[in-house]
């Protein structure tokens, strides 16, 4: 088994307040890991730190991604290396069309990998193919990035971008929040269609319902900035039934 992500004793803080207090996590190629935990346990901070959001400061620890020192790379280099975040709250960028935005993103990635830029025709063909993965309307693809999109459309748009950029590791940060059952199915189907034996996924969620569609190999429980429990898919079901209190008691919180 090939190890693709190795997080060791990761500490991180925001505005001087320590949120992550020593995360250890190892992922193998092709795996799906779920990260669960009560509000404020540090789930979103973990995803932000992995993609290099400068609002968070790493104070200790290391992260290896396909053997590279991830923390030494800029956010855009991490993206080019194949790391993708489906944002919990995708931002609107008025005036920038999805087409222009994605074309820049795809061609920057190709440049990083020593490939020539796609022609307009090639690019539009790629857009058409990938749009189908999440049933994204052509009208949305022609609008400004996320502007005026509904909550569900924004999340679908995230998975559409994931399809375009073909990451090796995707982090889905509460992608299920705010989705009705139909939208949830479309998004989850999209993620599953994109899954190959070489691509891996971290699913951050509060609920079992997304994990009914995207089956995790490993489930972690994050609490007070540490991973306090790691087990198989059955752990998520147990959390769904029993809540987090028993875990809090176990760790003495």
């Amino acid at each position: 088994m090939k190890t693709i992500l190795e997080i060791k004793d990761l500490h991180a803080s925001v505005n001087g307040k320590e949120i992550l207090k020593g995360i250890n996590l190892t992922m193998n190629e092709g795996e799906v890991h779920a990260v669960m935990g009560p509000n404020g346990s540090g789930k979103s901070t973990l995803s932000s730190v992995l993609v290099g959001n400068p609002a968070f400061e790493v104070t200790k620890g290391s992260v290896l991604f396909y053997g590279k020192d991830l923390l030494a790379l800029s956010p855009e280099e991490r993206s080019h290396e194949g790391l993708f975040l489906s944002f919990q709250y995708p931002v609107e960028i008025p005036g920038v069309s999805m087409v222009n935005f994605m074309r820049t993103a795809v061609n920057e990635q190709r440049k990083y990998r020593g490939l020539s830029a796609l022609t307009a025709a090639e690019f539009l063909k790629l857009m058409r193919e990938k749009r189908a993965v999440v049933e994204l309307d052509n009208k949305l693809a022609n609008r400004s990035v996320n502007e005026g999109f509904s909550g569900g459309e924004k999340k679908r748009n995230e998975i559409f971008q994931m399809a375009m950029l073909e990451p090796r590791l995707s982090i889905l940060d509460e992608t299920d929040s705010g989705l009705d059952i139909d939208a949830l199915r479309i998004v989850a189907d999209g993620v599953n269609k994109l899954k190959t034996p070489q691509t891996s996924c971290i699913v951050i969620t509060h609920y079992q319902r997304l994990l009914d569609y995207i089956k995790p190999d490993v489930v972690h429980v994050l609490y007070k900035g540490r991973i306090v429990k790691t087990a198989g898919a059955e752990l998520a079901l147990e959390l769904e039934q029993r809540g987090y209190d028993w875990i809090k008691e176990e760790v003495g919180g």
């Binding site: 993206s79 931002v91 920038v96 222009n100 993103a105 990635q109």
Partner: protein, 486 residues
């Protein structure tokens, strides 16, 4: 947030290092008259241009009026005292009596200069579908495609040539839209103006190519005071473009121009400007003072005038391309992108004066401020008593990059007719760190992300420019804001 300040510092540094692409100067023998401004200066300019008596009179009246005036102080600008006696008011890099008849008579240095600016003056190499009048300092160097245009009866030549060849037209129209009493800089220009372009499109003629004037300041310690006059006769159409650059110098240079446009019945004029005078360095040293009066008069019924401007240069800009809508059913547009960076200051906007019935005007202004610059929109919409059914829509947006710059909006409305509908919308936005990070996560560098956002923001205006210009303007916006970092 830390991210914000860290990123914007880096960003501001990059901006400060941005190179002005057109900062070179040409070493060429130039006939420059002594510094200073008095009646003798005016007479000297007029005699050098071999002008008729009536034009000298016009200049002298303007000069005497200017002497009674004070520089306006109402703009949101901090203008250092200008010593009008320390400027030379006429510089001729061609040193020949007449405009050269053929390209072979032009000094190769001059041709090279315009080549370097991307304005080839050989017609066979010229930009397709575009006729150019190239003006350096006080003199028109060459006007291309003049003969081709003449076949359709279109007059396109330097203002000086028009005074000689078409005196009746000049006498009829010059000063009819912007009188010399209009304002301080209009009076100054009327006294000392040198070359600009003259365009006359006869009745029923649709001008088959874009007409353009490229203004270049080269000589030191001189000012440029060009005068442009465009007349579109009944049922005609013309699209006119104006571009400007200047060398990088430590001292400030004055540019005070007048543009007058007359639009007759059912005629249409599109006037586009890409203003890229030297803006000064990061500390605010040097740069051009751009004090310009531009005004069109929609005299005819259902006449149309459209102003589009992309303003990226100049240390200080004071400019309000305006329109008097006196013809019934006439309409006017003003589309503007004004970028200020470093220590640049801009106070720019428009005036729409509705006089005729069912007149319409649209104002779309997009200000972009970065560095420690100050960027103001100032606009007046006036609807007079008789302007039944007048309609105006104004939209003024400001985009701030960083937190040391300023954006200001001064909309004035003066409505004297109850049937008029006047709408004004304004927004101020800032590029947020979340937007930039979202782009970063998708593999887009911060500078490229800013470029995408700025061009998206300005798109509505850029779309109004003719194709070749739109591409240039888009690049210019990126260079002005992002710095030429690889």
């Amino acid at each position: 947030m830390e991210y914000n300040s860290k990123e914007s510092n880096k960003y501001i540094k990059k901006i400060a290092n941005a190179q002005y692409k057109y900062g070179f100067s040409t070493d060429i023998d130039t006939d420059i008259i002594p510094k200073g401004l008095n009646e003798a200066t005016i007479r000297l300019i007029s005699s050098k241009k071999e002008e008729p008596e009536w034009l000298l009179d016009f200049r002298l009246r303007a000069f005497r009026h200017w002497e009674t005036m004070q520089m306006p102080t109402w703009a949101h600008l901090n203008i250092p005292t200008i010593d009008y006696q320390s400027i030379s008011y006429y510089a001729d890099p061609t040193r020949k009596k007449d405009t050269p008849k053929s390209i072979d008579e032009i000094d190769p240095e001059l041709l090279q200069t315009f080549d370097k600016l991307g304005i080839p003056l050989h017609e066979r190499m010229a930009l397709s579908g575009m006729a150019v009048d190239a003006v350096m300092d006080s003199v028109s160097v060459k006007t291309t495609f003049k003969e081709t245009l003449m076949e359709k009866g279109i007059i396109f030549c330097s203002f000086s040539e028009a005074v000689r060849e078409h005196p009746d037209l000049i006498r009829k129209y010059v000063g009819s839209v912007v009188g010399y009493r209009d304002n301080f800089f209009a009076a100054l220009n009327s006294a000392v103006f040198s070359d600009g372009s003259f365009v006359y499109v006869p009745k029923g003629v649709c001008c088959p190519m874009e007409l353009s004037t490229y203004f270049r300041i080269n000589a030191r310690n001189t000012g440029q005071f060009e005068r442009t006059l465009i007349v579109a006769d009944d049922d005609s159409y013309v699209s006119y473009l104006e571009g400007c650059t200047a060398p990088q110098r430590d001292e400030n240079q004055l540019h005070a121009a007048i543009v007058e446009i007359i639009v007759h019945d059912r005629a249409e004029v599109k006037y586009s400007t890409v203003q890229n005078w030297y803006p000064g360095d990061a500390e605010g040293r040097g740069g051009v003072y751009n004090f310009v009066t531009k005004r069109g008069h929609c005299r005819g019924e259902a006449s149309k005038l459209s102003w589009t401007q992309v303003e990226t240069g100049s240390a200080i800009t004071w400019k309000y391309p305006s329109c008097i809508l006196s013809g019934n059913d006439s309409s006017a547009e003003f589309y503007s992108v004004a970028v200020t960076n470093n220590r640049q200051q801009a106070d720019t906007g428009t005036k729409m004066i509705h006089i005729g019935r069912n007149t319409r005007s649209t104002i779309v202004s997009k200000g972009i401020s970065a560095g420690q610059s100050q960027n103001s929109y100032r606009g007046l919409v006036r609807v007079t008593e008789k302007a039944d059914g007048a309609r105006n829509y104004s939209q003024c947006d400001s985009l701030l990059l960083g937190d040391r710059c300023g954006a200001h909006t001064f909309p004035y409305m003066d409505v004297h007719n109850d049937t008029a509908i006047v709408e004004h919308e304004a927004t101020t936005s800032k590029i947020s760190e979340e937007q930039l990070f979202y782009c970063n996560q998708r593999g887009i560098k911060t500078e490229d992300a800013v470029g995408l956002i700025v061009n998206g923001y300005a798109r509505e205006v850029l779309n109004k420019l003719p194709m070749e210009f739109a591409v240039e303007a888009q690049k210019l916006l990126s260079v002005s804001l992002e710095g030429s970092v690889g």
